[in-house]
């Protein structure tokens, strides 16, 4: 690699030096010399703003580089076909970057199609070369191998010669459209039938929704439907799955059958999305596999909490479970849940409770992204589960216990190894009422504070009926003494009776008004009808 110091040298008063201009010309010559750099007639623009994400004409790229300068840390032009040469600071990044260099061409082609990207990203394991990697390579375990085979099968081009669409990417796109716009199954089938007529002969588009769904099913994106009691008293799950008669509250499991229905329909269904497969996917995809160990590899600044892994609770957990913390690929999870109304806040009250798991292994920019927040279950409404949320959490807790003790054999694409993954739930995050439901410490009454517990001076407001934590003992300028209060009680009682009378009067007046209005209306109608008659 020749001297690249010209790329980031300061320019006086915003003017570019001659060697910079020559360098940019050299860069353009170098890039245009390699034909695979071209995508849609343009090359990647490495300027400070485009950051290799846009494909532009070479003249535009020259203009960008002259006005904006190169993006940071781009001494090696690896996205433009240059081989990655490690120097001292880049040694640890060598594995990941050679990967990206060798696959940059494919990535470049996919840029317009995020679904293709998704598939290609998972597929990279079959194409990548990690010969620099010193660790012994292993074949993926049976489950992972089956998954990769499936992926390979469904990644066939849509028709022979099609470059930018695969069987899987098209189905994923149409599924998204279907769910976004509430398309019916019949509507889906019609559109697919039409699309198959347009596409060239011998295309591999699934003929209907059923076959497309069967293709997607083995990827593990599905969910289980578990019947539950509408009063949240039990799940028909595991040993109770066969029960048709209720055991506790007396509410039947199925709706009464009306006539010709063949199947039983349950009153309420819990949707449970298994978490293990999705956690394993994190290690099987190239892009995420290198980030999942971030929580141990990043450098923490003393006295600054940048990530939950810097805090006391995390360190305590690690010290208590050295076996767990020794493997940086073990997953730490957080759980959060809250009720919301999916039908908008102004319609009928409905409280549906999604339970979401977050992966704290990932770096800050990723761990709070929607794609890495795993929806684990949806507890249906219309009422909130209140303290019986535990009943609904049962499948999740069972799976978490399995993930801790019996573990899951996972294939790590980065190191080309199989390893046993474990997962631990670190904590839950809720708002105050949900805190009460999850923890078991009721959030109502005088003992609502889970820290003060019974050591507080809360009292119940006589009229509001709520607990007040406004301490009585503190002598403040606007507090009255106890003797004063006893004097006031009689006065207040008089006031209250007055208030009731007032309310009574107002109500009566309103009724009177209403009745007169109706009377007028009636008399009007009578007169009108009379007129008509005449």
């Amino acid at each position: 690699m020749d001297d690249r110091s010209w790329m980031y040298r300061d320019s006086p008063q915003g003017l570019r030096r001659m060697d910079y201009c020559n360098g940019v010309q050299g860069f353009i010559n170098f890039t245009t010399f390699i034909p695979r750099n071209f995508t849609d007639g343009g090359i990647r623009c490495p300027c400070r703003k485009c950051k290799n994400l846009k494909f532009l004409h070479q003249d535009v790229v020259t203009m960008h580089l002259l006005t904006k300068g190169f993006m940071e840390d781009y001494l090696c032009w690896h996205a433009h076909g240059e081989l990655f040469v490690p120097n001292e600071s880049m040694v640890e990044r060598v594995v990941g970057s050679t990967f990206s260099a060798s696959n940059m061409h494919e990535v470049g082609n996919d840029n317009s199609n995020s679904y293709k990207n998704m598939v290609m990203d998972a597929m990279r394991m079959t194409e990548g070369n990690v010969s620099e990697c010193p660790i012994i390579k292993e074949e993926p375990n049976t489950d992972a191998a089956r998954f990769f085979d499936l992926l390979k099968d469904s990644n066939e081009p849509l028709w022979d010669g099609c470059t930018n669409h695969s069987k899987l990417s098209v189905v994923a796109q149409v599924f998204t459209i279907k769910s976004d716009h509430g398309l019916s199954e019949a509507g889906y089938d019609k559109i697919i039938e039409w699309a198959r007529n347009i596409l060239p002969e011998g295309n591999r588009l699934n003929e209907n929704f059923y076959s497309a769904k069967s293709m997607m099913k083995p990827f593990g994106l599905g969910y289980q439907k578990i019947d539950m009691c509408p009063n949240f008293c039990m799940l028909y799950y595991f040993e109770n799955v066969e029960l048709t008669e209720p055991m506790t509250c007396g509410h039947s499991r199925y709706k009464p059958r009306t006539g010709r229905e063949k199947t039983f329909v349950a009153y309420k269904k819990l949707r449970y999305f298994p978490i293990t497969l999705r956690l394993q996917r994190l290690f099987m995809s190239q892009r995420t596999a290198e980030r999942v160990t971030w929580h141990q590899s990043h450098h923490a600044v003393d006295g600054v909490m940048m990530h939950p892994s810097n805090d006391e609770a995390w360190k305590h957990f690690n010290s208590m479970h050295p076996h767990f913390s020794a493997e940086s690929r073990n997953v730490s999870l957080g759980l959060c849940t809250d009720g919301f109304n999916p039908f908008g806040s102004f319609s009928a009250p409905y409280s549906c409770w999604p339970v979401i798991l977050t992966v704290y292994n990932l770096p800050l920019g990723m761990c709070m992204r929607p794609e890495f927040m795993f929806l684990s279950m949806v507890i249906p409404g219309p009422s909130s589960p209140e303290r019986n949320i535990d009943v609904c959490l049962r499948p999740l807790i069972d799976e978490l216990t399995r993930l801790w003790s019996s573990r899951a054999l996972t294939y790590n694409i980065l190191r080309k190894q199989n390893f046993v993954m474990r997962a631990a739930l670190m904590w839950t995050i809720n708002d105050f009422p949900a805190y009460g439901m999850v923890s078991g410490w009721s959030m109502y009454g005088k003992l609502a504070c889970p820290y003060c517990m019974e050591n507080n001076k809360a009292f119940t407001l006589t009229n509001g009926g709520k607990a007040s934590f406004f301490t009585v003992t503190v002598v403040s300028c606007h507090r009255i003494t106890v003797t004063e209060r006893t004097k006031r009680i009689s006065l207040l009682a008089e006031l209250k009776s007055m208030l009731h009378l007032h309310v009574f009067l107002v109500k009566n007046c309103m009724m009177l008004c209403q009745s007169t209005v109706t009377l007028c209306l009636v008399s009007n109608q009578v007169s009108i009808s009379f007129l008509v008659l005449v």
Partner: protein, 155 residues
């Protein structure tokens, strides 16, 4: 496995020495007892609730204000605030205006000011769009907007 029937199932001493209603299912996780933190509170969510309650009370939003007749009765019961107590003049009961409550003109001024607010890109959502000056209400404030309101705009 089985849920609790609300109201019936109570441990002895509930509400007096403790507030436990159940043994949380998380304790069935084998490592849960070694955790230092079990449950966390979502501070942004609480900040939103606090903001909404203060704002609705100060702006005297109907059905949303916490300054109700019952609250005034309690004030008379426990506090030494003569100007906040309900006034009984023989015909009816009147609720005197509280000192922290804004008058109608002042409220309108606040809403007009909110309507004209402009923020830098990405700082908060466009609050001027969330104001309904006719109904004197704020709609659709996200928790981050409430945070900006509390921290930057001052309340």
């Amino acid at each position: 496995m089985f849920g609790l029937q609300s109201g019936k199932h109570k441990f002895p001493g509930f509400g007096l020495t403790h507030n436990w209603v159940k043994r949380s299912i998380f304790w069935e996780l084998p490592y849960w007892k070694t955790n230092l933190l079990y449950h966390n509170l979502d501070v942004m969510h609480i900040e939103k609730n606090v903001f909404e309650n203060i704002f609705n009370t100060v702006m005297d939003v109907k059905w949303k204000t916490k300054d109700t007749i019952k609250a005034r009765l309690d004030v008379a019961m426990f506090c030494n605030r003569k100007n906040m107590e309900l006034v009984c003049d023989g015909l009816g009961v009147a609720k005197p205006r509280a000192s922290f409550m804004l008058e109608k003109n002042a409220q309108l001024l606040v809403y007009k000011w909110l309507k004209s607010l402009r923020f830098p890109d990405g700082h908060a959502s466009n609050i001027s769009r969330l104001v309904n000056t006719e109904e004197c209400r704020l709609f659709g404030m996200k928790s981050h907007d409430c945070h900006v309101f509390m921290q930057k705009l001052g309340l």
